[in-house]
């Protein structure tokens, strides 16, 4: 076995079976499961007229009572989301039309395909009629202003998941669940129901929590009988004992708190799974796993009930099993997030809320477990700061060197101040964890959607600025920058151009917030989630779902795509047209319109390409990119979420550059840009430099990044770097790389992630996918198997500057 630094001393961890489980999970095939859709349709039909949250709770409970359950062969961690491994359940209550429309296309998608049987298709088609006009998506469409639809047609706005699926994006209070169990949560709700001062909303909420928790407990007990049955049939002694243990444990497991390390880890998995049966949001995250699991580990270790090796086995099984869960999205959303991502972030290391370092055995074991499991989920991140042991970073670097993109690293000295720009005290801010790709939240205290509200295509906004608000592709004009209709506009100074940018950005931000509100108001009804809500602080106290103001804190952010493309383009215009006057605006615009065609186009493109580019430690352009960030940050204080005044602290907006793979499809919509980018090519990823623009190596990229207002970007700042494998070869290079990561502290690097794959390998994998089944790459804040990405996203990754020197 090839460990990072672990040296097994006992035989308690069965590495062979981990290997088998890993292989079978890596080769898993996505399918679609109709069971959940059928059951919820029945329950909804039966409960019409009852409060929505009660209907949701009853459906949740009945799904858990009736769905097929099974135990994955030879795994210690159990609990299944649908009738088969990696089968995606269907959530018709959020949106259903696209499922029906795409039934025949699921299997033939170029990325994220799903096998689906004719039987499943027929079963789903039967449900179609009931849901017409009743879904969350229908509600959003009824309320969305026309102008928003036009802005979408222009390619500026994209409403993403919020308009047609559940919200997700939370880190439940795992510590609390481990302490009281689902039974304990139910007790609290029952206790609350004794009061006669409850209003209707609160009464329904507590009743729903009781129903939901009962459902969860029933689900667990079903595993007791199943495991007993399987134990009877099992020939292998060791496995039979394990099954007997599961059966015994599930008789009363989670009626109260977790009783040992094994139960604690199983609980974390189960809670995660149950949230993903309740709703089809994604980015349900694990928070600071090493912090809340450690007490259970230490106690079992001290009492001689556990060895480090057994702990590693359990964690590895848990990691592998998180990959059995799946989600199906419509095709147009899939392009925004390729690779079946669930963005279940799991974080280790970093400062504790008392200001001391929190690194412990579990931090290291998680890195080892990831080294063994080598699958896209969970999305593993490491926090570090001045006091982080060097050995933890060294193990992280060793894992990064293996080339599957994990862990990503977050720097406490940057993130904590960024979180402090919100209304948090220092102790709370120190407890942050990553969620989804790179967004940050306080575990157990944050409402849905710290990020991923409406997407704003910055690249497109800039294109509109150059065309007086007219989208050259669709001809739609919503804003007249010079007061006149039509594309003609002339900017005489850089300042004029800049103020037009600010006006256009504000205009579309207003529309985006409008879209957020429409979606949020609908989700308040359709995503009334008693199970998940009760696991976030203050919901149980207030008797409210998260969507109606149950969370302690509530901050959201949108997703902004292409800040570097815009900054590079502004810099090119400023330098070539206004400073050096080697080009006129007309010449430039003509070249852009023709996508730099012909000799004249080539001449101009060369000038554009030679203009300063973000990522090369060039102040001229770096400061312009920073201005682009500031122009958005400035707008934030003016906006509130739907929950304002209903309980949570905050209820405002933050900024995030977590934008998953959307930089690829967003690029499709944007014509040629003054940075020399051709029409339809990707925008920059997250906050990273534009593809291929960074030519001075990674230290220059960090220096450029350090000039951005990273410590104001509380929603998460995404930097993705690619290294040639040789750059990390041997102990000496590994040390150098580790010190490079560490320097990120001084450079105010919020988050950094690394791809260590040779572009030759990537190209080969694109040609011969069968030969590279488990080639994993960092996409944009998460990891995916390379083969599951669509070809354009694969190309973008290949093209991303390879730092080889």
């Amino acid at each position: 076995m090839d460990f990072l630094s672990f040296i097994p001393k006992t035989k308690d961890c069965d590495f062979d079976r981990i290997k088998r489980a890993q292989e079978s999970m890596a080769n898993r095939r996505a399918t679609i499961c109709p069971e959940r859709a059928e059951i919820i349709t029945e329950v909804y039909k039966r409960t019409e007229g009852e409060p929505q949250i009660i209907r949701k709770a009853k459906a949740f409970a009945e799904i858990l009572e009736r769905m097929t359950i099974y135990l994955e062969d030879d795994m210690l961690i159990f609990g299944n989301q649908a009738s088969a491994n990696f089968a995606a359940p269907v959530f018709p209550e959020y949106s259903f039309d696209w499922v029906i429309e795409e039934l025949d296309a699921f299997a033939s998608r170029t990325g994220d395909s799903f096998d689906i049987s004719e039987d499943t298709k027929a079963r789903l088609r039967k449900l179609e009629k009931y849901w017409i006009g009743k879904t969350h998506k229908d509600e959003v469409n009824r309320n969305l202003p026309k102008v928003n639809l036009l802005a979408e047609k222009q390619g500026v706005l994209h409403k993403g998941g919020i308009s047609m699926s559940g919200d997700g994006h939370i880190i439940p209070n795992h510590e609390f669940v481990l302490e009281v169990g689902y039974g304990g949560v139910k007790k609290i709700a029952l206790e609350k129901l004794k009061s006669n001062e409850l209003d209707e909303e609160q009464r329904s909420f507590y009743q729903a929590v009781v129903i939901a928790m009962d459902g969860a407990l029933t689900y667990i007990k079903r595993f007791s009988s199943l495991a007993a049955k399987l134990a009877n049939e099992e020939r292998d002694d060791k496995r039979r004992k394990e099954l007997e243990q599961i059966s015994e444990m599930c008789r009363d497991y989670m009626e109260g708190g977790a009783r040992n390390f094994y139960e604690a880890v199983e609980t974390v998995y189960l809670t995660h799974l149950l949230m993903m049966i309740e709703s089809n949001g994604h980015s349900f995250s694990f928070g600071r796993f090493d912090q809340y699991i450690y007490p259970y580990y230490r106690r079992d270790l001290e009492e001689g009930r556990l060895t480090k090796e057994k702990a590693l086995e359990i964690i590895t099984h848990f990691f592998i099993m998180t990959n059995s869960i799946n989600k199906v999205r419509p095709w147009d959303h899939t392009q925004y997030s390729c690779g079946y991502p669930l963005y279940s972030n799991l974080m280790v290391g970093g400062m504790k809320s008392d200001g001391t370092d929190g690194t412990n055995d579990i931090s290291y074991l998680c890195l080892e477990a990831m080294n063994l499991s080598r699958l896209p989920e969970p999305n593993l991140s490491v926090r570090f700061w001045e006091q982080t042991p060097h050995s933890l970073l060294l193990d992280s670097a060793r894992l990064i060197r293996k080339g599957f993109g994990m862990p990503s690293v977050f720097c406490d000295e940057v993130v904590i101040p960024a979180m402090m720009t919100l209304d948090l005290d220092l102790e709370t801010a120190r407890d942050y964890a990553s969620m989804g790709c790179v967004e940050t939240a306080i575990p157990g205290k944050w409402g849905h959607r710290a990020t991923g509200m409406t997407y704003i295509n910055f690249g497109k906004v800039f294109e509109l600025v150059l065309n007086n608000g007219v989208d050259p592709a669709s001809g739609i004009q919503l804003i007249r920058l010079n007061g006149k209709e039509g594309r003609e506009v002339s900017y005489h100074t850089y300042e004029e151009l800049w103020s037009a940018w600010k006006r256009a950005l504000k205009y579309y931000f207003d529309l985006a917030v409008q879209c957020d509100l429409v979606c949020d108001r609908s989700l308040k009804f359709h995503d009334a989630d008693p199970f998940a809500s009760s696991l976030i602080d203050c919901s149980l106290e207030r008797g409210k779902t998260l969507k109606n103001g149950g969370a302690k804190y509530d901050y959201v952010s949108q997703s902004n795509i292409g800040p570097s493309t815009v900054g590079d383009s502004l810099a090119a215009v400023k330098k070539l047209v206004f400073d050096e006057k080697v080009l006129t605006m007309d010449e430039l615009k003509k070249a852009l319109d023709s996508n730099f065609e012909g000799e004249e186009g080539a001449r101009i493109r060369q000038l554009c390409r030679k203009a300063p580019k973000f990522g090369n430690d060039d102040d001229y352009v770096d400061h312009i990119v920073a201005d682009v960030y500031e122009s958005y940050l400035e707008l934030l204080p003016g906006y509130r979420t739907d929950r304002a005044g209903r309980g949570p602290i905050g209820c405002g907006y933050t900024m995030s550059t977590s934008n998953i793979t959307s930089y690829v499809p967003n690029g499709f919509d944007v014509g040629a840009t003054p940075d020399g980018r051709l029409a339809g090519k990707p925008l920059n990823e997250g906050a990273s430099p534009c593809l291929g623009a960074d030519r001075e190596g990674p230290t220059a990229v960090m220096n450029s990044m350090s000039k951005l207002p990273n410590d104001k970007i509380a929603g998460g700042q995404l930097l993705n770097m690619r290294f040639y494998p040789g750059a990390l070869e041997g102990d000496d290079n590994l040390e150098k790389f580790t010190s490079f990561i560490k320097t990120g502290r001084l450079k105010k690097i919020f988050h950094n992630q690394f791809n260590i794959v040779d572009s030759k390998v990537l190209k080969a994998a694109k040609e011969n996918p069968e030969e590279y089944p488990d080639l994993m790459v960092r996409v944009a804040g998460y990891c995916a198997l390379f083969n599951t990405l669509m070809p354009e996203a694969q190309d973008a990754i290949i093209e991303r500057t390879e730092h080889s020197w």
Binding site: Q606, E696, T699, A700, M702, A727, K736, F740, T743
Partner: protein, 300 residues
């Protein structure tokens, strides 16, 4: 004071301790047959031609004086001996098919740029390395930059083949914290055949540097069929032994072919065409060094 440099390579990991920025200076007074940086040997600016970027538009052809560039199936063929205005031809291309090597920079501008990565140097125990070409051929420029860097608290290293006047050398290395010294062969005939020069001065200067007690890393390249004679390698190691405590480390450098493409793009003849040596091949040399009490690192 201006120097002529080709490239500033940040995040260098092979030119001394820690993360470094390596400055490549143009001009060399050796002419190693296997040189991986042929663009750095002759003084002055040069132009590399990238066929894969050329779209065959013919512009450079029409700009070239005396028809010295012809467009063929295989891209542009440049008759460099006749071309008197290559600079103009190159800058007429809109497709970046020509790449210029070599630009002048003042010591203070260079220092400003190098300073930008100070945090990385500090965190990793790195610094700046002057390489080339032969950086010692621009001694004033290197000294001035090194002085400025020293003032900033930045560690400096000089990679040299050591063929300059003794006094110059002494003066130069006093401004430097670490010398990476290339010894290409002990046998003077072999040295002459491989590099075009005699090695007497080189060895004298190496010994002088050691006597001045300036920390040194000795770099020993091994090129199969050229300077890989075991006896000679043994003699190189013996010589290093005599240099004493100043030698902190020895690097055995494996011949590599990464420079081949540059010959093609410069229109030069590649004089060494052999396979890259295997790990087994190189391990014999490593073993020899170990037996003499060294802990060599392997690079290339």
């Amino acid at each position: 004071m201006e120097g002529l440099i080709s490239k500033i390579q940040r995040y260098s990991t092979k030119d001394g301790p820690g993360l470094r920025t390596t400055v490549f200076l143009i001009g060399c007074n050796l002419s190693c047959l296997w040189c991986a940086n042929p663009e750095l040997i002759a003084p002055g600016e040069k132009y590399l031609y990238y066929r894969e970027r050329c779209v065959g538009c013919g512009k450079c052809v029409s700009v070239a004086a005396d028809n010295s560039i012809t467009l063929t199936e295989k891209g542009c063929v440049i008759d460099r001996s006749r071309c008197s205005n290559l600079k103009e031809c190159a800058s007429s291309c809109y497709y970046d098919a020509y790449e210029k090597v070599g630009y002048a920079m003042t010591a203070s501008d260079l220092c400003e740029k190098l300073k930008r990565d100070k945090d990385f140097y500090d965190q990793s125990g790195g610094g700046v390395t002057f390489s080339g070409g032969e950086p010692a051929l621009q001694p004033e420029f290197v000294m001035e930059t090194a002085k400025l860097l020293r003032r900033e608290g930045i560690h400096t290293a000089l990679e040299t083949a050591g063929l300059i006047k003794k006094d110059r050398m002494r003066e130069l290395i006093q401004q430097i914290d670490l010398v990476l010294y290339d010894i290409k062969a002990m046998d003077s005939k072999m040295h002459l055949a491989c590099t075009g020069v005699d090695n007497r001065v080189i060895l004298d200067n190496a010994m002088m540097t050691a006597e001045m007690n300036i920390p040194m890393i000795i770099r020993l390249i091994v090129v199969p069929g050229y300077n890989d004679d075991k006896n000679d390698f043994y003699n190189r190691l013996q010589f290093i032994k005599r240099m004493g405590k100043a030698v902190k480390q020895i690097d055995i450098l494996k011949y590599h072919r990464l420079g081949e493409g540059k010959y093609l793009r410069l229109g030069l003849e590649n004089r060494v065409s052999i396979e890259e040596p295997s790990n087994e091949y190189i391990s014999e040399y490593v073993q020899m060094a170990r037996e003499m009490g060294f802990e060599p690192t392997i690079g290339g």
